[in-house]
């Protein structure tokens, strides 16, 4: 495409162009009994808080949350409430036309906050596109997450600032990046760890299988955190696997654990355990957080085409936020004042998110040509110049009037 010095012109553009969360369940060892996901007999899972908000004992994982203070428990609650509020705000901003698309995390707060809070600053996180709660834990300003959903950028934050990588839309790709990064940590002799997030659907991708292979072979310090939210758009987990996902790890030579993904305490404990294994040179772990996607896959999706309402209702009874609240209240760790203050903070967050999004400017047109290469490229330079001349031809016309 070439644009020569053109005469001024007018724009002629035409107008319009399961019940896994059974109370009191105990942790399941990787060599647990084989229970194909399709039989309905689900394996047990690690749980520290029942859906009724009762604290249950677990000899293996209790030590990882033994020293948790009431303050920290309130902090986990706060994280879940605020990240849910942020998520809800984004959903309504999409409805109002401010965002092109939104992938809600509703129902997955415990899995994300529990695992996110288990990470250390020097750890590195590789998310998919739904880890808004993990981003929150890493200190990423939530409004940064909205740029790509608004359509103003294809990423929108510097991954190195919070060691939180860019969202990855191509399913499963990031698990290999996480493995490679973890291999680098080992080469550097550092004791950081990596955590890679992905979904139950993603577990079918070749990349994910290859990342399991590499991480096992190189004993990479990586935690694979699979949020099994039961669905990959319209396809239930049975369309991806015949064995519970956490059991996959065994075949690759590392442990897999299934945790109640709606139990923030259990998610925190299990992830800490897995990260400590990684740090101490014991290699990868697969954590399957058994949870549920309460909303649609994204705002473009219509779950009524493939999913029964009763299913969601059964999971609402296991709501992660309610569960911790019941526990906090019963153990006198939080009073009315705490909840009222948090409500006000939540309102303020919602307001800020709305304001920032509405004020988010469209990108400069020349952003198309920015950062295509780190060292520059003659063709990009040429096309940018042509684009500039073409744009200017309209401006000239405007001035001529």
């Amino acid at each position: 495409m070439t644009v020569e010095s053109t005469a001024a012109r007018k724009p002629r553009r035409s107008a319009g162009t399961k019940s896994a969360a059974s109370a009191g369940a105990k942790r399941t060892s990787p060599a647990a009994k084989k229970s194909p996901g399709t039989t309905g007999a689900e394996p047990e899972l690690v749980q520290l808080l029942t859906p009724e908000g009762e604290r249950v004992k677990d000899a293996t994982y209790d030590p990882y949350v033994a020293d948790i203070t009431p303050d920290e428990l309130r902090g986990l609650y706060r994280d879940m409430v605020l990240s849910r509020r942020f998520d809800a705000e984004a959903t309504s901003l999409q409805r109002q036309g401010e965002l092109g698309l939104w992938a809600s995390m509703l129902g997955q707060e415990a899995a994300q906050i529990g695992s996110g809070r288990a990470t250390r600053d020097d750890d590195y996180v590789f998310p998919t596109y739904r880890e808004h709660g993990v981003a929150w834990c890493r200190g990423v300003d939530p409004t940064n997450l909205l740029g790509m959903f608004r359509g103003v950028n294809n990423g929108g934050w510097d991954p190195n600032t919070n060691n939180f990588h860019l969202y990855t839309i191509v399913i499963g790709s990031q698990t290999l990046h996480a493995t490679g990064y973890a291999m680098g940590i080992t080469k550097d002799g550092a004791d950081s760890a990596v955590i890679a997030y992905f979904g139950d659907g993603a577990s079918s991708q070749g990349d994910v299988a290859e990342s399991f292979t590499f991480s096992a072979v190189y004993n990479a310090p990586v935690v694979f955190f699979c949020q099994n939210n039961q669905w990959a758009i319209s396809e239930p987990t049975e369309k991806q696997t015949r064995v519970p996902l956490y059991q996959r790890a065994q075949g690759f030579g590392f442990p897999g654990v299934r945790v109640d993904g709606n139990d923030v305490l259990a998610c925190l404990a299990v992830t800490k355990w897995a990260l400590e294994r990684a740090r101490s040179g014991e290699g990868p772990t697969l954590v399957e957080a058994y949870t549920y996607r309460m909303g649609a896959h994204t705002t473009s999706d219509d779950p009524t085409k493939y999913r029964a309402d009763e299913e969601r209702e059964s999971w609402e009874a296991k709501d992660p936020i309610l569960r911790l609240r019941t526990y906090l209240e019963a153990s006198n760790h939080a009073d009315e004042g705490f909840f009222a203050e948090l409500e006000a903070e939540s309102e303020a967050l919602g307001k800020r998110v709305r304001e920032v999004v509405r004020a988010m400017p469209d990108p400069d047109h020349f952003a198309i040509f920015e950062n295509v290469y780190a060292d520059g490229h003659a063709l990009v330079d040429e096309e940018r110049a042509q684009f500039a001349a073409y744009q200017a031809s309209f401006a000239d016309e405007g001035e001529g009037k």
């Binding site: 012109r9 092109g100 359509g151 294809n154 499963g172 079918s204 991708q205 295509v372 073409y390």
Partner: protein, 326 residues
Amino acid sequence: MAAEKMALAKAINESLRTALDTDPKVLIMGEDVGKLGGVFRVTDGLQKDFGEDRVIDTPLAESGIVGTAIGLALRGYRPVVEIQFDGFVFPAYDQIVTQLAKMHARALGKIKLPVVIRIPYGGGIGAVEHHSESPEALFAHVAGLKVVSPSNASDAYWMMQQAIQSNDPVIFFEPKRRYWDKSEVNKDAIPGPLHKAVVAREGADLTLVAYGPMVKVCLEAAAAAQEEGKSIEVLDLRSMSPVDFDSIQASVEKTRRLVVVHEAPVFLGTGAEIAARITERCFYHLEAPVLRVGGYHAPYPPARLEDEYLPGLDRVLDAVDRSLAY
């Protein structure tokens, strides 16, 4: 049956339905193609009517989808697979390029690979990254593959029938932003050959060649140019491999000017091949160099910039003006 007005997506749906009905070897495969009917509802209702054995919801694994389709084809089936969006074909690219494309030749012609790979492609729907790309040149470059793209409902219906009947693998690019555009489909018509270009609008002064989503833009540009007294011919290429150079040549010999338009990046794109061939064939007929309008050598931009990136009426008319100025 008389001609019926329907949307392009519906025309593909009806075409798939006809194929499933007439040939028990035809299978539909892909992510979410069953109960949901695909994210664009192109396979809506097919699983309900033909069952889970014929319309198969696959695991979320593109290499798996194409690789198993190859095996099914070796066993005598005719799989029509759906890749959910353009940017997600790459996990399957290895299977397509190293296996699907070459197996017929390696088997000395003794096996056939009648696999159709449907890919909704192109921009203009305000999507996030990997949902708006036009990778057709990457496939057209590979010998052994046929690459086509309809621009309207009638072609979508007939070209899909022909692609499924083809004994060669066909990459079937569906212009997603035209899915909801309606036009006449006559199921009793006798369609032209799959790889033949068609004149979408007659003209005398210049030829615009386009395919898929850009045909509509070029028709609008030709109408706008008409008001300025310019007579523009629009050729709907329909097939990027093989390319019907004879039809392009015939048009250029008449109009003496050629502009090729596509959404994909211009550099090493379909337009580059057409420009080179037509320059060889029509050197003495041409009054102006063959010009190209298309995407930039840059990643597909965020949605708020796609109107600047995608060729619109103005950029096509600008190229028309430049060609006519020679």
